[in-house]
């Protein structure tokens, strides 16, 4: 056992830190520190900086732009980006569809898409969930009928993150009715400019437009856009979901937020003293930090390949544990942020116009920028224990690990 980062790993970490300090655009970092919403342009700008450096898709094979880093190095890179903070890569592109194409795509698909994913020339969205198929994903109904060299799509997807930016969607469609509902699903790449696609915004409770409904009305998709074999899409979807493992806990994100909370709490006052001197607040913060440190170690155990992989039974189960705890901790940090903002969390600032909503505003100072985002951030991240397999589904996965079946 060697329970420290090796000298080589520490050198690598310093190299990543130096790169981030010199390369993350200041305005983007500011936005992230304040939990501001990144624009499409922000994310594209950062991805292209990474691509110039050769770090856009470090976990891919070298021939497609990968780096040959070890699992621990990849972890360090992600963690440092999150903690800096720098924008996360568009995971639908580099973590989801990229690896699927590398493993299961045709040569033509790889040549066409992979370099464009690395440079974020195409914006990708994920078409998995449907109104009747959320946690029970295999219950999906969107149908693709083969018609000559094309598939014809009809149906509806929901919760499609940033579909309004998207050039392409990878989606699961039903191509056959099997005895098992997991059979007969296919994995298609759909050009979002195709005729018959309607994207309709869903406004979430914090007032933001991030997710959408997508409707397919006789949308024609070239058969060449089928990934792998017809009717075997479920296997590729499972492969895709298992790739989330390395980043799912988002330890660095929580670290960055806690660091930010501490900084702010030194200048926010309560009963004549900085909030950071409020014992109750400080203890709550410390309690979250302990869980976070434990999660970081748990994640490192997974990444560095612990013998026997703990007692969770499988690495899938460990990933579920990371998802649940990671979400709990992130949600706890957003709660602390609201508590810190106190009454300053109340003014409603419209995210689109960046303006206060109401008629009685008579001056420039209403609320510090970070405090204006505190409540929306808290509201927004309630989703974390729901998406990507809800907490309850993750517990079912873990339960299968320990009870067998």
């Amino acid at each position: 056992m060697y329970l420290q980062l090796t000298p080589r790993e520490l050198t690598f970490r310093d190299e990543v830190r130096a790169f981030l300090s010199s390369s993350v655009p200041r305005d983007i970092r500011e936005k992230m520190l304040n939990d501001g919403r990144l624009s499409k342009e922000d994310i594209v700008r950062w991805q292209r900086i990474l691509n110039v450096k050769g770090w856009a898709v470090p976990h891919w094979p070298v021939e497609w732009g990968g780096t040959n880093w070890t699992a621990v190095e990849r972890y360090i890179f992600r963690e440092e980006m999150q903690a800096f903070p720098a924008p996360p890569p568009l995971d639908f592109a580099v973590d989801m569809i990229g690896p699927v194409l590398i493993a299961h795509g045709s040569d033509e698909q790889k040549r066409q898409f992979l370099p464009r994913i690395a440079n974020l020339d195409d914006w990708w969205c994920q078409g998995f969930s449907e109104p009747g198929a959320g946690s029970d994903l295999a219950a999906l109904k969107t149908a693709a009928r083969r018609d000559g060299d094309e598939y014809v799509l009809n149906g509806q997807k929901i919760w499609t993150t940033m579909a309004h930016y998207a050039d392409w969607m990878f989606c699961l469609v039903r191509t056959a009715r099997g005895e098992k509902k997991q059979n007969g699903i296919s994995f298609l790449l759909v050009n979002m400019k195709s005729e018959g696609i309607t994207v309709r915004p869903i406004i979430t409770m914090e007032g933001d437009h991030e997710v959408n409904e997508v409707f397919f009305d006789d949308v024609r998709v070239p058969a060449a856009n089928l990934v792998g074999e017809q009717d075997r899409g479920w296997d590729y979807a499972k492969f895709l979901l298992s790739n989330e493992r390395a980043t799912i806990a988002r330890v660095g994100v929580s670290k960055a937020r806690i660091r930010r909370i501490k900084e702010l709490a030194a200048s926010e006052y309560c009963m004549g003293r900085p909030m950071i001197e409020n014992r109750r607040f400080r203890e709550k913060l410390a309690a979250v930090e302990v869980e976070l440190k434990a999660l970081e170690m748990t994640q490192l155990r997974l990444v560095a390949g612990e013998e026997g992989n703990g007692r969770t039974g499988s690495s899938d189960a460990t990933a579920s544990l990371l998802k649940i705890k990671g979400a709990e901790i992130q949600q706890a940090t957003t709660e602390l942020l609201v508590e810190l903002a106190g009454h300053f969390a109340m003014p409603f600032i419209d995210n689109e116009s960046q303006e206060l909503v109401g008629d009685c505003w008579n001056g420039p100072f209403v609320t510090p920028e970070w405090a204006a985002r505190a409540a929306p951030t808290y509201f927004h991240w309630r989703k974390m224990s729901i998406y990507g397999g809800s907490d309850e589904i993750q517990r079912n996965v873990l339960a299968r690990g320990i009870f067998g079946r």
Partner: protein, 399 residues
Amino acid sequence: MDFRLTDEQRLLKDTLNRLIAEQYPFDRRRQYQSEKDGWSRAAWARLADLGILGVLLPERYGGAGGGPIEAMIIMSAFGRGLLLEPFFATVVLGGNLLTLGASEAQKVLLLPALASGKLLLGFAHTERHSRHDLANVATRARRDGLQWVLDGEKCVVLHGDVADKLLVSARSGGEDQYDEDGISLFLVDAEASGVSRRDYRTQDGLRAASVSLTDVHVSSDALIGTSDAAFPLIEEVAHHAIAAICAEMVGAMEEMQEQTVEYLKTRVQFGAPLSKFQVLQHRAVDMLMALEQARSMAMFATMMLGEKDLTERRRAMSAAKIQLGRSSRFVGQQAIQLHGGIGMTMDCKIGHYFKRTTMLDLQFGGADLHLQELAEMGGLISPGAPLPRMDRPIVGRSL
């Protein structure tokens, strides 16, 4: 980073697991508990024969030169086996105090005897109001010519009833009862004149004693280290103790988790095994998560024993104790609940593990005291600039 065991470490782990499985089943433990000392001298001798008692001690004194990882492996195995023997008191506390603080002559004299199982030690430090405050020492030490004279009361000295020698902390100087300066450490023969011990069984079936010292005279070579300067040594050993406690708790929690899963698979209610009920599955999963987080923090504590920066080490130890305290309380309470009535009985193993982890949480500061400490130290994550200090919490100074 590498979480894999070396060949030697795996051998140690396998040896211990085999030994405990073969020679320390639960009903045998019950027999051992009824022996005179409340544990088995024969089992102790076997641990000595296998070299386990010396694993952590330096090679030149008859040990194997093991470090924190070996300590973690041993304590974790003992936690699973729910051992009664005085390994923690003698080797982790006593052995570390001597290895880190004693003179060459003292080590040569004592450590080989420790490794061979012939010498039992007790750490007589805790007092009526000291709780987690390691500097709170009221027991007095005064010089009398070439001798020292000790007076005071020590509480809950683990295995103090059987200890051949007691390591006694006493105040020989300093500003007041709470000063880190002015504490000295003495090696006192348990049978010395003026030492009286009152021994008892603890809630978890182990043994402890209260020790009173009245006009106890010891010679100058009984002093461990330098006079008035024992606090750093005591604190460092407390950190080793915390890491060891964490590892033992992990072992005990593993057993509770596995037993509970087994029970849920076999116990039939409403026509189905309990494991078919989703609400119970999810409880078992939550236990597992608490266990895995605890395991991670036990490793963190182990890793941080080598940390040179004292503040960082203090933070780490507090953090580990918080996680283990919280996790073990959760796992233990759920294990009892999921076993139902049977879990409440003396015949069921679960209760014994629950009692053990509950007692372990109380040693060297419980979860809440450490949370207070960690918050005071500014938590684990640095904000960039140092945080303003809160008023230092007053621990153990009332009454």
